[in-house]
């Protein structure tokens, strides 16, 4: 490249660059003029308009809180609604000496220090000039007391607010859940704009799962206010969109029957409409009264609930983990038939115990002396443990694991409730990764009778039973009938690939064995077959809480009530055209047949009587 050329090129570059600098400067001037034009428009043309808004009166955007959606049961009975309540509210910016005012109020209305603390915390989170409640749900007496002295309390007033109310209290506490005041953690995760005026948010249960639908959309009003932030005039407003009303699949009468039938036992009852997957009963006993939680439960009351031996805050139906005991047998039996490990004619002699080859340990049958020679149907009817030890040994843990998995054991059922537990379906891999141990043959045996590591929730048990009754077509439980969320999950799970392909003769023989459990004279649940014009299929179960030593004898009268076995029962009816599946767990109930089966029997009888009546009166 010649020197002359380089210099010439440099000159071209310089000229080009200078042109660009000038162009950029022109662009900058033009854009700045644009800004000035807009400022002139705002500050000269619009000045009068904006000055009136700002000088004496200021526009304040006030959120308009939507009414929370109402929750109904399947027949339209109200499970959660909003009732009017009066609360004592303060606007700190309008009070000259807040501490003095609080002290006087505390003396006048006998307010606890705890409530004052709670108020102080909430006040600090609020925007300025927002009325914050100090007392919620005032009694008539409190209202009267304050009304007399009101002129001495500027900035303090009684406001009518809507408060969530749960008419069925402890009966629905675990399924509906409750709302409570928004706490600091929730404050950060909730959309700020939507919750600007809201005090409550769903904490657990349906109230939490369907928070978005129930809450509705916050509206707003542009309000002219004076310097003391008193409203003068509403300029413009967009009304709030109330929360969606939810219709549950739950039948509150049936729920009450189940809850009452549990009697003094702690436990859970779950019933599912097999045709749809709708949950008819979701009972967890004991429940608790959710209403105090709405207005802020007193600390000692909360401590009492927390420390109670019966654990009323514990959602047994969704989160309780129990060994399924013998209720697993129909599923294991079906696995044996499907894998051709046995056939229906296969007989086995039960001497009252089972031994692995070359091992001295006796795996006991619940019946001393044994059941004698039994086939599959008899083994289910009489709940013979030895038969299932042997079958489990033939199947092995791998096949049992993969078969039971199809029925939803070890996985969440996907019901539309937050906090579901997934239980535990053990496998070789699980034991190796979690416990760093290899799988022992003895563990296969006890898995075959629903003991050992195996753990299920009542909800899982009900789902598995419904799926069995549905002959392998997976039933996905859900609670809310009308919401977009439930529709989408239900649709998502109805993929045909989930369904279990079963040979009809296999499933039919299992079902008829389960019918015998209730209707055969040797059946373990024969007590509930009186006065039926249809058949109930079921299976009893007894889950060990307490490990009995090899040579000791289990005597329920000798041991502490809390260490007694849990009583379980799974069932569906009518056996030839299943409509309802029920799973019952009565903690420390002892025997599935005598304690759990009658509870399920009551639920089934009431439900089928009602649905027959409905069908009879079109």
């Amino acid at each position: 490249m010649s020197r002359i050329y380089t210099i010439k090129n440099k000159l071209v570059e310089s000229r080009l660059f200078l042109n660009r600098i000038i162009a950029a400067f022109v662009v900058i001037l033009l854009l700045t003029s644009g800004l000035v034009v807009r400022l002139v428009y705002l500050q000269i043309v619009g000045h009068e308009h904006y000055a009136t808004l700002a000088k004496d009166n200021s526009i304040k955007i006030e959120p308009l809180v939507p009414t929370r959606g109402i929750i109904y049961d399947r027949h339209g009975r109200v499970l959660a609604d909003n009732t009017q309540s009066f609360s004592l509210e303060l606007i700190p910016e309008q009070i000259s000496d807040l501490n003095d005012t609080l002290l006087r109020l505390q003396k006048l209305l006998n307010i606890s220090d705890e409530k004052i603390d709670q108020y102080q915390k909430q006040r600090k989170r609020q925007k300025r000039f927002v009325s914050t409640p100090l007392l919620i749900s005032m009694t008539d007496e409190e209202i009267a007391k304050f009304a007399v002295v009101r002129p001495y309390f500027p900035g303090v007033d009684i406001q009518a607010r809507l408060v969530r109310h749960y008419p069925y209290a402890e009966l629905t506490s675990h399924v509906i859940g409750y709302v409570g005041r928004i706490n600091e953690t929730e404050m950060k995760s909730l959309p700020l704009a939507e919750y600007r005026g809201s005090t409550y948010v769903g904490k657990i249960g349906i109230e939490s799962t369907y928070e978005t639908e129930l809450h509705g959309k916050t509206g707003y009003a542009e309000i002219e206010t004076n310097v003391q932030a008193r409203a003068i005039n509403t300029v413009n407003s967009v009304p709030p969109v109330p929360g969606e009303n939810l219709y549950l699949t739950l039948d509150i009468d049936l729920q009450k029957t189940a809850y009452d039938a549990l009697g003094d036992y702690n436990g859970a009852v779950v019933a599912i409409d097999i045709k749809t997957g709708g949950v008819l009963v979701f009972a967890s006993r004991p429940g608790f009264d959710p209403n105090p939680f709405v207005i802020g439960i007193a600390n000692d009351a909360y401590q009492a609930l927390q420390s109670s031996e019966d654990q009323p805050l514990y959602n047994r139906a969704l989160r309780g983990l129990y060994p399924p005991g013998s209720t697993i047998k129909p599923f294991v039996g079906l696995a044996g038939l499907e894998y051709n490990a046995i056939n229906t004619e296969h007989k086995l002699f039960c001497p009252g115990y089972y031994q692995l080859p070359n091992v001295s340990h006796h795996y006991r049958d619940w019946k001393k002396g044994g059941h004698g020679s039994v086939n599959m149907s008899e083994a289910i009817t009489q709940s013979c443990d030895v038969y299932f030890y042997s079958l489990a040994s033939m199947l092995g843990i791998d096949r049992m694991h993969s078969f039971l998995k199809h029925f939803g054991f070890g996985e969440k059922t996907g019901i539309d409730l937050v906090g579901e537990k997934q239980g535990l379906l053990p496998s070789r891999e699980w034991k190796r990764s979690r416990r760093n141990q290899s799988w022992y043959p003895g563990e296969t045996l006890i898995t075959g009778i629903g003991q050992g590591y195996l753990q299920v929730t009542p909800m899982q048990l009900a789902k598995a039973t419904a799926t069995l009754a549905n002959k392998g077509k997976v039933v996905s439980p859900f609670l809310v009938k009308n919401s977009a969320t439930s529709n989408s999950t239900a649709a998502g799970e109805e993929t045909p690939s989930d369904d279990i392909t079963l040979k009809p003769e296999n499933i039919n023989s299992i079902i008829s064995a389960m019918v015998n459990v209730v209707h055969d004279p040797h059946g373990t649940a024969k007590g509930i077959n009186k006065g039926l014009n249809y058949q109930i299929a079921g299976k009893t179960g007894t889950a060990q809480v307490f490990n009995i030593k090899q040579d000791a004898k289990y005597n329920e009268n000798d041991i502490d009530f809390k260490l007694r076995d849990h009583a379980l029962f799974i069932s569906f009816a009518p056996a030839d055209d299943p409509k309802i599946a029920v799973a019952v767990i009565a903690e420390n109930g002892g025997h599935g047949g005598s304690v759990a089966a009658p509870i399920a029997g009551e639920v089934i009888k009431q439900y089928l009587k009602e649905s027959n009546n409905e069908n009879g009166n079109p």
């Binding site: 090129n9 570059e13 080009l16 660059f17 200078l18 660009r20 600098i21 950029a24 400067f25 900058i28 001037l29 854009l31 700045t32 644009g34 800004l35 000035v36 807009r38 400022l39 002139v40 705002l42 500050q43 000269i44 619009g46 000045h47 308009h49 904006y50 000055a51 808004l53 700002a54 000088k55 200021s58 526009i59 304040k60 955007i61 959120p63 925007k127 300025r128 000039f129 700020l192 704009a193 939507e194 600007r196 916050t218 707003y220 542009e222 310097v227 932030a229 967009v238």
Partner: protein, 377 residues
């Protein structure tokens, strides 16, 4: 060159002037920056609820930023050029590190915690991107050919996407515009600029077609904040009331009612211009804009006087990007641009942006005060 002699006259023959010159500080630019920083304290005192603590903290940051500016002014521009690629690559590495660390934390991650202090790599990349592009283009003759444009384009897109993923769309667009500014000053043909503008305009409806409904909703709120008065729109409504009520002469210092009554959120940071406009009126606003224009003009002048291609491109793009910051912030506060989190340069409360900006001015001063040979006719 007549202009150069005139600029020599600018230096006052005083002791202070001599010291400043020894420090490689450009006096007109320094005076502009100093004035605007003073103004910043005046407004912050009012907007921050007359809190001296706020001023002290900001004072410390501004002091630190001025020190950094002086230090950078001392560095020979040749060194900036030499290390452009290294600094750029380092910045990109930090951005990747932030993204990877962000995978472990929850949500948006922009900071890198260095124990002693927290560092925002996207701030550094605001300067190193134009450095990189200027260095690359200066290696070739101008105007850039298609191949160079393509490579420069890729170099701009990499940091832009990394920052957009944080996600910080506002900063990403600013970084992209600083790179694009270099291309513009390098002589990117007008036809090409027109073609890109048309393509972008043409792509918009196609992009719209592929967006999910919730994404469309977001774009709509972005474009029309008034539709969301409890969220973003709240700021805009209150900000317009504050500015409009200021009128021609304003309500006077400390006279703002909107920020006093807590109607105007973020009054010390992104929306500080609204407080300024309320207190000092149209008169003050125009004066502030003039002050900004003077600083920008001086920077463009420095660029025009620079002696090599790299310095010219870097100086001019830093000047132009500074204007973009001013324009985007004020445009947002007066409601003509969508709400993006960009502070008002040199005035808003907060340290990071001031440090980056003054570092940029340090580079400009370095370019202007390290001439290799004196001009002669």
């Amino acid at each position: 060159m007549k202009t150069e002699t005139r600029s020599e006259q600018f230096h006052p023959p005083s002791v202070i002037g001599n010291i400043l010159r020894k420090l490689h500080i450009d006096i007109p630019l320094f005076i502009g920056l100093f004035l605007i920083s003073l103004l910043s304290f005046v407004i912050l005192y009012s907007a921050g609820g007359q809190d001296m603590d706020v001023l002290m903290r900001q004072g410390a940051r501004v002091g630190l930023a001025f020190l950094l500016m002086t230090a950078l002014a001392h560095v020979n521009p040749y060194q900036f050029k030499r290390y452009s690629a290294v600094l750029f690559s380092f910045g990109i590495l930090l951005l990747v590190a932030v993204l990877i660390l962000g995978q472990f934390g929850k949500g948006a991650q922009r900071w890198l915690d260095l124990g002693v202090f927290r560092f925002q790599p996207s701030e550094m990349i605001k300067i190193t991107t134009p450095m990189m592009i200027a260095w690359y283009l200066a290696e070739h003759s101008l105007p850039p050919k298609t191949k160079q444009l393509l490579i420069a384009g890729i170099l701009i897109i990499i940091p832009t996407l990394l920052i957009a993923k944080q996600p910080d769309l506002g900063t990403a667009l600013l970084v992209a515009s600083s790179g694009a500014a270099v291309l513009f000053f390098a002589g990117l043909s007008w036809w090409f600029i027109l073609a890109i503008a048309t393509t972008l305009a043409g792509l918009t409806p196609i992009l719209w077609h592929f967006m999910r409904p919730y994404q469309r909703d977001r774009v709509l709120t972005f474009l029309n904040p008034e539709a969301d008065p409890l969220g973003r729109g709240y700021h805009i409504i209150q900000s317009k009331i504050a500015i409009g009520s200021g009128g021609i002469y304003g309500k006077g210092w400390l006279g703002s009612t909107q920020s006093e009554l807590d109607f105007l959120p973020e009054s010390s940071t992104d929306f500080i211009f609204a407080v300024f406009a309320e207190e000092f009126g149209l008169f003050g606003c125009v004066s502030l804009l003039v002050l900004y224009l003077l600083i920008i003009s001086r920077c463009l002048y420095i660029a025009s006087q620079a002696q090599d291609t790299y310095s010219r491109l870097l100086a001019s793009s830093l000047a132009f990007t500074f204007f973009v910051y001013v324009f985007v912030n004020i445009g947002m506060v007066i409601g003509v641009l969508p709400v993006v989190g960009v502070p008002l340069p040199l005035i808003s409360y907060g340290g990071t942006s001031i440090v980056t900006l003054l570092a940029g001015f340090g580079i400009l001063m370095s370019i202007h005060t390290h001439k290799k040979f004196l001009p002669h006719s």
